[in-house]
Symmetry: C2
Subunit: 405 residues, 2 copies
């Protein structure tokens, strides 16, 4: 696997992005187009309140897909004509591109409860289509909301002797929580692959990336991860030779390579989302291990990762570590065996042992707290289950952004 | 029931508070003393990590109590000698007051994981005892941490022809969550009452007050509510005439009066805690009704009350109401029948009906959002269960306080 220029598009794909007026200034409407109909697979929010584009995706994703229309600035969620508007949008794209409206997916992000400004979008679409090109930069910009930076990556790998490209683009940046975030992610590749296999690969990649990040514990109504594969690379099709996909993967070196690349991209984008979390100044990795039950590990990791007290502690580089132990205790798990460590790239300090705080070296602790990436390890020493979550600190900036948004 | 001067102490009680040096400047050590041994009852945090004074209270509370020693600035929690220090503290008080060390309760609030500065406290105790008087102001100040104001109230009522006084003092103000907060509350009364009855009254009062407030969803290691009754009022003792305490209460007008007074005090103090929540500028009341199960109502109410996105929305007086519906949806409950209202003292606007946002009058909504006290009503229309929680908004101030603390 080779990391290549981040705006590289796979063969047969074109990307575009314009400002049509949903937002005041920045780009707000993006399009991905594949000349060859592509296999598509996706994962969506489990919030019971689902935005109209999610419903549309769920309806169309069984088809071979040629286009994905995405907008920022408006979530098209919980409005009475939301689904009608989403359909109309695909009609407009279908007419212009001369493709079937059923072969189009859509995604939206932004404010909830306000109708899409369809007039503005309608006027913008011809320009958007004219602007399609073999460069994903404009699309990556068009899906941002409060994100400060574009999240984009492209990799190249060799599958059965042919060059395969995968392009990944995502946006964050508040409402980020396990089981997806207010995040959109678009993966496009020219690999030729079996559809069931593609879904399995996507699930694994998302499980180990987007489902392990949190910014504020909120679950969005619009979370979407889409993966399109149009087969233009011309590789020997990756097939599922057995129903047990997991077993197969390690038996097929090419499939393993593809999975690794997809995992890499998803984790890279997930980390980029956390780094660019609203107001974030630090990345915090929470690892809870030694739990008796999986649910214990998850509960404690989530609690720590979403604790305002702990997040502000890291922001202030304050040594009020008691908040970590208090968060563990409030989950209802006994701390009589628990050890807690603070870890940076260069240092690892045990701050809590079997229920009590240790008088650790303050100088080393201050060094760790001064870092941009910090890890908390909670070892319950009760069993074998563990959970890892990435989060960020909480600053005044988060409040400002969300008070004004 | 009559509300009287808030620093009024019940007969036979004395209160004191001094600065002994645990904190830099403000008062940090307080004492309540009852000449007559008093019945005592208490409720404590359910966090598995419990501070040493909680363990001490649980051991001594079966005894008749003559003193409560409380400090701020240090939680005496998760330190190896914590319990030994808490015991030593009661020894010192016992010696000076010439009472039994088993007849003393204690409470602490402040930083976790740092040993109590016993030397400073030891030096302070003689001054603290000299300073005891029939005025609770100094004690109310001595238990504050990041609180901006004292939380104090006193009421007078007539029980079987005798004047009974109840004095209530509390502190907040971060780490406030249902099942108690980082809150300490001290209720002292001269009523003569059966002990089992006193516990029942306290439980009811706490259930409808401190257990319905949240500031940041954190559960403290030190939460304590204590209630002391020394019988000095000389009323005819309130007795439990049947095992079914609930039934009895309405049959006994005097008991009903006492319960009402206790409820009033607890709710008053709980509201004061929310109002003074770290960085709070508004009080938000969340009411979820029409739930099929009790747990649904509780989950949704807690989620809304602890949502950073919703709390910053109220802080910014922004109209991004979608966040409320998204929070309901993320709890896994269907919104197809749900109505949501925003309510102030003068206005009530339906913003969401059966799964969709209504285009409500923006002017009226802005008026509601401009208020200091706002209510959200979520009516799921699925069943008969409901839950009410008080919370506050989230401002930059919260982050500043907790980054520096």
């Amino acid at each position: 696997m080779k990391i290549i220029s981040k705006n590289t598009v796979p063969q047969g794909f074109k990307f575009g992005g314009i400002h049509c007026g949903i937002k005041k200034k920045r780009k707000d409407l993006g399009l991905i187009y594949s000349e060859t109909p592509a296999l598509a697979t996706g994962l969506f929010t489990v919030n019971k309140m689902q935005a109209a584009p999610i419903k549309l995706c769920k309806r169309n994703i069984k088809n071979k897909i040629q286009a994905v229309i995405a907008n920022s600035g408006n979530a098209n969620c919980a409005v009475r004509n939301g689904f009608k508007d989403a359909l109309l949008l695909t009609d407009l794209i279908a007419q212009e591109l001369k493709i079937k409206r059923g072969d189009i997916l859509s995604a939206s992000t932004g404010i909830i409860g306000v109708p899409l400004p369809m007039d503005k979008i309608k006027k913008g679409i011809p320009f958007l289509i004219k602007q399609l090109k073999e460069d994903s930069d404009d699309f990556a910009q068009a899906i941002l909301t409060t994100d400060k930076v574009c999240k984009q990556i492209a990799v190249e790998l060799n599958i059965t002797g042919r060059k395969v490209v995968i392009n990944g683009i995502a946006k964050g940046s508040g409402m980020i929580s396990p089981n997806m975030a207010t995040m959109l992610c678009f993966l496009a590749t020219d690999i030729d692959i079996d559809k069931r296999l593609l879904m399995s690969c996507l699930k694994e990649a998302v499980q180990n990336s987007f489902n392990q990040i949190t910014v504020d514990g909120e679950m969005s109504t619009n979370d979407t991860v889409l993966c399109l594969a149009n087969g233009e690379a011309g590789n020997k099709r990756l097939q599922a030779t057995s129903y047990k996909l997991q077993v197969k993967k390690t038996e097929n070196k090419d499939l393993e390579k593809f999975q690794e690349a997809l995992n890499y991209i998803a984790l890279y984008l997930a980390k980029e989302i956390v780094k660019d979390g609203e107001g974030a100044t630090k990345i915090i990795e929470v690892e809870v291990k030694g739990a008796k039950k999986k649910i214990d590990a998850e509960k404690i990791a989530c609690h720590i990762a979403n604790s305002n007290l702990i997040k502000t502690m890291f922001y202030g580089e304050s040594t009020n570590y008691g908040r970590i132990a208090a968060a563990v205790g409030s989950s209802g798990v006994d701390l009589n065996l628990t050890d807690i460590y603070l870890v940076s790239d260069k240092n690892r300090v045990k701050i809590f042992e079997k229920g009590y705080f240790l008088s650790a070296d303050e100088k080393v602790l201050k060094k760790i707290l001064g870092k941009k990436e910090i890890k908390i390890v909670v070892d319950l020493k009760k069993g074998d289950f563990s959970k890892r979550i990435l989060t960020c600190d909480l600053s005044e900036e988060y409040v400002r952004i969300n008070a004004e948004y």
